[in-house]
Structures are given as C-alpha cells and as structure tokens.
Symmetry: C2
Subunit: 347 residues, 2 copies
C-alpha cells in the first residue's frame, strides 16, 4: 500500500527541538466518553471588585493597583524566581547536580477591562500590549544577570489560569530554559551548517507550500507548523529575519498586533467559546551578543480537540513516549483558515 499522509500513522520531525511527534490521522473518529471541561460563562463585569488585577483594587500583599488605562505591570506576588544572589559550591561529579537560579517574575495586565481578552480588544490596544512587552524586554534584558526573557500568557481555567482578567506574565532569568536551549541549539547548528536562518527559510517554505498557512498580512504569517503537537497549535512569525521584538518597525508591530487579533478571533470562533491556550514569544538570548541565527516567533498551544469541552490529553504514551495528535496539521490549518475573522460575539 502506498503511504497516505491523511490515512496512515506517521511521525514528523520538529527541527526546532530535534524531536519527533506521532500523527494518527485515522484516530479522529474515536468516540469520547472521558472528562468534559467546564465551559466558562460569557458574562463577566467590566470591573470586578474581588479581582486582584482590576484597577484600584488591593492585591494579596496589600498594594493597591493604580487607576491604569491600558497596560499595567507589577512584580509577581508569588514569584517562582527571586532576584537575589546566593553563593553555592557545587559538589564534585554526582547525580545530584543543581544550580541556584536568579530571576524576576512580572505580571502584565493587558487592559483595565476585566471582561475582555486579546480576541475582543482592538488592534490599537493590542499594539499597546506589544509596546509594554518591548519596554519590559528591553529593561529586563539589560540587567547583566538576565540572559533570557520569557513573555507568555496562560488563558483559561483549563490552562491553569486562575483569573479571567486579561493578563500575561514575564519570567526573566539567568539561564536559557530547557525548551529555549534546545531551540537555540538547533537554530545555531543550522546557521553554522547552511549560513542561513532556519526559521526564515521555513517561512519561505510554508509560503510556497500554502497548505498550512492560516493567515498572512504585510509583515507577518501564521501557520500550523508541520510538526505541531496540539490539535490547533500555531506559530506566528514576522516575515523578516529579526531576533527580538525590539527590532520591530512600526509597520511590523502593527502587522504582529493584527495577526494576534485575527488568530485569537478565529480561535474563539472555532468552537464558539473563549478559546483557552498558553502562548509565548521565543526570542534571542539577552546576553549582549549578536544572534543572526535567531528569528523571533510566538507559539500558541491550545488544548481543545473537538469542542469547547473536550481537550486533548497529553498523558501516558505522550509523557512516556512522544507527543501524539489525531487530526493532521494540514486539516487544522484548513479549518482555521476558513473560520471567520469576525468575532462571533460581535456578529
């Protein structure tokens, strides 16, 4: 029998991580009798007196939020990283290898309006979020003990987000975290071997192939990557080779904001629900070195599989073996591409 990508189990290679994933297109027909996720109600107030992120409210540590009008940034009250230098002498070669880690955790409120999400904000407001990311990235990245700045958002209760108020986080630290270190290694190796940029070349290959492109505008493109693991995982990239968001021209920033808007609207429309995801931008290390091997990109990892209440579980085989998906990346891209760019709540 001749291999058919839409019928036969196969593995695909992720050149950013150097890892394979398993694709089982024939399995999409499997019935689901398992856990149903709670679907969030759509009726939130624009200001919630009990929300610790709303303007004017008091946080856990007693501080009062200012009366902010677009974005608001503060140090995380329950930080995973601490900005404190400690002395440590590693014991000789052993199984018990550890290193102290220094860093800063911040929270970024995207809007004072409690009931909004990026999908319902306008492009100008999203541009302000990007401006905030830029100033934070610049400020944190300049510190001599900060070599990596991770900007990300957890959206939805199913993604461990405990407050619907639109917000993201920034974790800045001394080391390159594991996933970034792997990406860095593969980008570097490609650059050394070919003299060109892996992701810039990939953007061109996807523009040519067309079938995985979800959206494209003047300066940015959204694809379901060939090696996507989550059912509706996407990758948002600028078309030009730039290493960090500090290099955005005004037009590129506007295109990036527009792409976030269109993508998050499509996501919400897909299952007519506020679509949960974790998303974040991978950028060059802030180690003060040039990074021609880097091309910034934003990953969107949404967990939903078939409806607002049925997610994909990355469990047993996936934890012990490798990531596995049912629907193919090409099918997901086609569905997202065809999904309306007008938010369902506004039509």
């Amino acid at each position: 029998m001749v291999f058919d990508r839409n019928e036969h189990p196969h593995r695909r290679y992720n050149p950013l991580l150097g890892e394979w994933i398993l694709v089982s297109p024939q399995r999409a027909k499997r019935p689901w009798q398992g856990q149903q996720e709670t679907v969030v109600s759509d009726t939130l107030p624009s200001h919630d007196p009990s929300c610790y992120l709303c303007a004017g409210n008091t946080r856990a540590n007693g501080e009062i939020n200012p009366d902010y009008s677009d974005c608001f940034v503060f140090d995380n009250d329950f930080a995973a990283l601490l900005n404190r230098e400690v002395q440590y002498t590693a014991p000789p070669d052993s199984f018990f290898t550890l290193q102290p880690e220094r860093g800063i955790n911040r929270v970024v409120c995207f809007s004072p309006y409690h009931h909004l999400t990026l999908a319902e904000m306008n492009v100008t407001a999203i541009e302000k979020v990007i401006s905030t990311w830029q100033s934070e990235f610049e400020q944190l990245g300049q510190l001599d003990y900060i070599n990596h700045v991770q900007i990300f958002e957890n959206k939805g209760a199913v993604m461990g987000c405990s407050n619907p108020h639109p917000h993201g986080q920034i974790w800045a630290q001394s080391s390159l975290p594991t996933q970034v270190a792997k990406t860095h290694e593969h980008l570097t190796r490609y650059y050394q071997q070919k003299g060109t940029n892996l992701l810039s070349d990939y953007v061109q290959a996807e523009i040519q192939a067309k079938e995985r492109v979800v959206y494209s505008n003047a300066h940015c493109i959204v694809v379901v990557p060939f090696w996507a693991t989550w059912p509706y995982e996407t990758l948002l990239l600028p078309k030009r080779t730039i290493a960090t968001i500090l290099e955005f021209t005004a037009a590129e920033k506007a295109s990036f904001a527009e792409a976030i808007k269109v993508l998050t609207v499509k996501y919400d429309n897909l299952f007519q629900t506020s679509f949960p995801y974790s998303a974040g931008i991978h950028q060059a290390p802030t180690d003060g070195m040039p990074h021609p091997e880097w091309h910034l990109h934003m990953h969107f990892y949404p967990p939903l599989l078939r409806s607002a209440s049925v997610k994909k579980f990355m469990v047993g085989y996936e934890m012990l073996g490798e990531a596995q998906r049912d629907i193919t990346p090409e099918q997901s891209a086609a569905l997202l591409r065809e999904t309306s760019n007008q938010h369902y709540k506004q039509t």
Copy 2:
C-alpha cells in the same frame, strides 16, 4: 546569602533526559483560586453492564469480552498505530520530514472487577498483571518490525482516562519514541564513558543518600527522583541491573508487585482519594541486541499538587521554558514515606 535548597529557586539536572527543571520551594505558599478537579465517587459496582471492559460485555466493534478471571488483553479498537506496511519515499532534504510508523496497540484489563484499582488489588493479583505484561512484551518484542514496547496506564479522568475499569495499554512500534530515544542516548553515553550502568549507579547513590527513598524491599526501590517534575513523581526500580521485565526472577517479580501495591496505596492515602497518574515502564529496545546500558524502571507521573481537587498545571512557562515545581523532591519523599501502607478504605 548562602544557598539553601529548601528556600531558594534552583534548577536540577535530569541525567536520563539531559534536561533541567526549575524548583521554586518558596512558592508552595501560593494560594490557589483556579480550576478545581472533579473528585471521583468511591462507589462503583463490581460489574457495570455499560462498561466495554467488563467480562461478558460487548465492545464498540461488536466483539464480546470473554468471561475472564484475572487479566484480559485485546487489540485497541481505536488504535493510534496500525500494523500495516506502507511504501514511502522521502523527499530530498526539507522542512517536511516524516516517516510512516508501524505498530500495535493493545488494552490490558487488570481485573474483571470494575471497582478495583491496583491500589486495592492484592499482591498476587498484581503479580498476574506483571505476568501478562511479560508475555505481551515477549510476544510483541519478538516481531521483527517492533523495536520498542511501551507498557503504561492512564488512571483517573484528569489523566484522560475515560473508563475507571482497571486497565492499562501497550503501544508497540518500530521506532524508539522521543522520550525513550533521549533516555537511551543518555544511558548509552554514560555506559560508554564510565563502563557502568547509569541507573544502577543512581540506585546506589539514592540508597546512600536516603532522603528521597519512599520505599524499599528485598529487590526493589521507590524514590522521588532528584530531578522529579511532577509534585509526587516517583521512580520504581529493581535493585539488580536488568534491562527488561523478562529477566525478573520469581522473587524480583514478587518484590516489584509489592512495591506497586505499597506505592499506589500511599498515593491513595495522601489525599484520601483514588490518586490519578500516568505510569509506565521504560525498558531496553526489543531490537535483538544486548543492552548492558539499560536498567528497567517504572515512572509514575501523578498530577495532584495540594489536594484531591488541585493539580499542578504544566502550562505557559513550563511548555515554553521548562518544567517547574514548588515542593522539593525531598519534601515529597518524606511525605510519601510517612504516609500509611494500609489503604484508607480498608482501615
């Protein structure tokens, strides 16, 4: 300030995967206002006429389960891998690298009793499960196109398990899946460099260190590994260097069954609930070669963090950066060690 493992954020190195994880001991005090998991009721019938795994019942494909009395194995009705040869010619060097993958997926019922779990089965019944794993591993591993056999269990709705009937799965395939390939690479490198077995040396180091040992009997040991990512993650290993479960002596098999029993009872007792987890055995490839670098081990990845209804979310930072934990592995091990070996339902 001098570094203190119980107070200061740090990273630990996982020598099986060659990856780091972030430990934030100070963060355990964080309040939780997010998603609560549904706690499963404890009152299941011993036979459920609507369960597709119970003896005598009819499955999705119309087949009738036999009237089995201990374990029962069948081919998964919605397999992710197919046992079919396909022809594929890879295109030249490109971003679109894939390979067809051939394999077999089986379901293993642990007991005809719908209401039981490993924690509530007796050691003799667990030994029968291990015997079933052995005959499946042997039979599947002998096939010339099968080079890896993954035995695993998803337990609990939160781990994507759609049926409480005690069962696990086996996915056998041609390639080494990503996580196993990484483990294989690190075991091999260590063996080549030191001439000894990584995990056998690690077992000795943990026996000496004592603080991460949860349980030990004549032939097996359970530890919270130094590099554990999930709050109550454990590793169960035989003390002798053996590559697969086919090498168990009768006494080792009994010890392994006893260790599974004690560990799953401790898990259930920790939060007085049927403790969810994904667990599975990593073993040498079934490629017909000798594997002195391998030492079989069973991983337990349980998601719960603070109670029966609050799990750890591996989301934004964890997906984009690296795995992160709050409570230290030493604290988790102490808690599990002190937890009773008598199941709470039976006292």
